[in-house]
């Protein structure tokens, strides 16, 4: 990218700078290590020499063109600002619907659903396993009746909704589509995302139900169904967020996510015999935005470049849309502290900024009280305003991919990409992600990285303000509380639905679903039918459990 003369000058400049450093009274090298939060060493200065082999056209290029390092859309945020999509949900469907309307009023531009643990795991509120968990970390959804309340007065043809749901993704999506029918909105107008990424469950988030093989079959069913009937829907959000939150490094987050993506694409091709271009453009991704500012920006840029290469050359997709990596980002929950919670506003702000400078398509910003409870109204408002201020006031959206060409950022992007490829190759050698998960490879890497990080914090090699440095006494803040009465109320609602519905029809649809599961028919139409008859989420999931078996935590540590 640079002429020999430029490089020579840069080299000489470096030598001179090093001399100045040695002479300087500010000891640059107090024995302190300058590294990212993921432990990548960062140099004091970057020059043209650091990216001398980088070819501008093929490696950086332009937004909207391969390899999309600078973004998928040629117009960037000037064409369309990222979606302000706040992950939210708690208590009853009514509580959450209220919060959703509030957020929409305050200017969020997309919805995102947080479900409670029983719902995430495919249990109804009255299951003994669900005891004490109802509504505590998300909304409780047992049947379509709850879902109708959740989406009350939300026009599904005007708003897109993301749902963080994995084993029961088909069920929640079916409920969403059933509501669309009730609203008279045709499915080709309905937009949104289901997370539906089981591989990362086995690796990190651990809301799993059935073993890996049948889980992937269900995912391929949903992807196929989407390509046919719900073309605007992102039927999977291949996630790195949870991998990072479980303690991985940035490189691991990137590599494992892409490896998961590779496994999914391969499966749809193999199992459904679909051409890759038929479904690739509806795959979406989800990343973490952690506290090391530049590491994250480099990671996002590397991600786009790598996925484009994978889709174009490994999977031989022809349509440029298939090479796009569109992703949602959430600022890092695990970087927030319970101590001095107002500090979290600053953390979330820099993380949001990194995501924006990294070109995210949509963004959730964490609330300051995230470590203590679910977001209060006060806290969630600040989080939303954070995005709005970045978009409207800071000017960072004025130009696309402003950091391109920075010696540092481009060098770091290259470095992260290189290291991520190493992991992907290793996983390929193991036989792919499924095989790697089976032997516990990503799980153990993550657990090791998490422990390493904790040791660095405990020994103060890495600082967490308010926790191991600048510690202060503090007054507690008001947090959101979930009413303990909720569980009983929800159980009553559930009982009422079961009483009023046509139980014969429910049994019939469940039986048909069972048969579909046992064959290789696509299960989605049967799930939709069952939800319309007000079959409960657990009743449907129990069919999955019955046919496909249950997965138990192998406990890799």
């Amino acid at each position: 990218m640079f002429s020999d003369e430029t490089l020579n000058q840069a080299h000489q400049g470096m030598e001179k700078w090093l001399e100045e450093v040695k002479k300087s009274s500010n000891d640059f090298q107090e024995g302190r290590r300058f590294s990212t939060v993921s432990d990548l060493d960062i140099k004091g200065i970057y020059t043209p020499e650091d990216i001398k082999d980088l070819d501008f056209d093929t490696r950086i290029g332009y937004p909207g063109s391969y390899p999309f390092t600078r973004g998928c859309q040629p117009t960037g945020y000037r064409g369309r600002v990222w979606t302000f999509r706040m992950f939210s949900g708690f208590g009853s469907a009514e509580d959450t619907n209220k919060r959703w309307h509030q957020l929409l009023k305050e200017g969020e531009t997309g919805l995102s659903t947080a479900f409670d643990f029983p719902t995430l795991m495919g249990y109804d509120t009255d299951s003994p396993k669900a005891r004490a968990e109802c509504g505590k970390c998300g909304v409780a959804i047992d049947t379509l009746a709850d879902f109708e309340v959740l989406t009350d007065k939300i026009p599904l043809d005007k708003v897109t909704t993301s749902m963080t749901i994995n084993p029961p993704a088909s069920v929640m999506w079916a409920m969403y589509l059933a509501v669309a029918d009730k609203q008279g909105v045709s499915w080709d107008k309905v937009g949104g995302t289901i997370q539906n990424d089981m591989l990362k469950e086995f690796i990190a988030q651990k809301t799993f139900m059935c073993p890996p093989e049948p889980s992937i079959r269900l995912i391929s069913d949903t992807i196929e169904f989407g390509t046919k009937y719900v073309p605007k829907w992102n039927t999977i959000s291949i996630s790195g967020y949870h991998i990072r939150e479980a303690g991985s490094t940035a490189v691991q987050e990137l590599a494992f996510t892409l490896a998961d993506g590779i496994a999914y694409v391969q499966d749809v091709i193999d199992r459904k015999k679909l051409n890759v271009d038929a479904f690739a453009s509806r795959l979406s991704f989800f990343f973490d935005s952690h506290i090391d500012f530049f590491e994250e920006i480099a990671k996002f840029r590397a991600a786009r470049r790598m996925w484009a290469k994978i889709m174009r050359y490994r999977f031989k997709a022809k349509n440029p849309r298939s090479w796009w990596m569109r992703f949602h980002t959430q600022t890092a929950g695990c970087s927030l502290t319970a101590q001095q919670p107002f500090n979290n506003v600053i953390r979330t702000t820099t993380q949001a900024l990194a995501a924006v400078l990294g070109g995210t398509q949509s963004l959730h910003t964490n609330s300051l009280d995230e470590v203590l409870a679910l977001p209060s109204d006060f806290a969630v408002n600040i989080a939303l305003r954070t995005q709005q201020i970045i978009a409207e006031e800071t000017g960072v959206i004025n130009t696309i991919d402003p950091l391109a060409g920075s010696y540092f950022v481009e060098a770091l992007t290259n470095q992260i990409e290189e290291k991520a490829w190493e992991y992907i190759e290793k996983i390929d050698e193991m036989g792919g992600m499924l095989a790697a998960i089976d032997r516990g490879f990503p799980q153990t890497e993550i657990a090791n990285a998490a422990y390493h990080f904790q040791q660095q914090i405990d020994s103060k090699q890495k600082v967490v303000v308010g926790v191991n440095k600048y510690v202060a006494g503090e007054a507690p803040i008001e947090t959101l509380k979930i009413d303990e009465k909720l569980e009983a109320e929800q159980i009553n609602r559930l009982r009422e639905v079961k009483r009023v519905r046509d139980n014969r029809k429910v049994a019939q649809t469940l039986n048909e679903l069972r048969l579909a599961c046992q064959s290789d028919k696509n299960v989605m139409p049967y799930v939709v039918e069952a939800t319309k008859q007000y079959a409960t989420e657990q009743e449907i999931c129990d069919v999955y459990r019955e046919v496909f078996g249950e997965y138990r935590d192998p406990g890799f540590y």
Partner: protein, 324 residues
Amino acid sequence: MNMDIISKILEGNVRAAARLMRGIEDGAPNAVEGLNSIYPHTGRAYIVGVTGAPGVGKSTLVDTLITAFRQENMTVGVVAIDPTSPFTGGAILGDRIRMQKHSTDQGVFIRSLAARGWTGGLSKAAISMIHVMDAMSKDIIFVETVGTGQAEIDITQVADTSIVILTPGMGDAIQMMKAGILEAADIFVINKADRDGANNLKMELQVMLEMKANLPGGWKPDIVLTEAIYDKGTGELVEEIFRHRQFLISSGGLEARRKQRAKLELIEAIESSIKSYIDAGIDKDYLEKLIDDLVQRKTNPHSAALKIINQSIKRVKPLLHNYI
């Protein structure tokens, strides 16, 4: 030891048994008494050793075996051994994670054990725990050991049936052969048999087994293919275990093994008693002096040892009855 505790153990009381096991493991003085009291009530349980390299699926396989034997109405004990960190002396014992569905079954007792530097795969404590479970009337006891290859010989001396688990693609067949495991194992299991290379591994193993010298009328180990995580092959494995047991009973092999085991235990007890007797009498200052002498080459290790042993015996003889 409290006779009340002993009778509780014989009745199958989990808490009492667990406490005795803990005492044994940490060398509590009254634990040996407890062990002595229950010993007469041992010798009935059938002991199955399960061994293999890390990652082959030992715990998952034992989990399926527990289910199978519970269905046969037999009570089950499991001693699951994991390595101790050589740097810190601590351990994470994770075998029982895969067996946790049995944790509420009163007919199953799972006990996790850290190897504590016993590279022999089985520590004295492990053997004692087997005795306690035996005294609790557990019908079958699985002993899952640290799969370090070479050391797995030990478990075959303690178990009635020894199962060795291999998986395709892990290159262990050759290693196992080198370690002499071929002679020692009674049943071979190829787990994760759905993986590529399962059939090749089976053939390799069959060839090696055929090359091995076989006594006429001797036991010919079979190879069972399993996919423990899908509970496939468990039935065949259970049948093999029963078949081996039957063979041992009718050939007199069971008697022979138990006699061998008793011999090993006795010899071990003699050796450790002698050692603790001698250790008790060692004069630390004299020991330090001998070490200095050695450094200055005024003496040699064996002569020094004899000196201090002699001195120790003299010191301890009057108190002999306290140590043995």
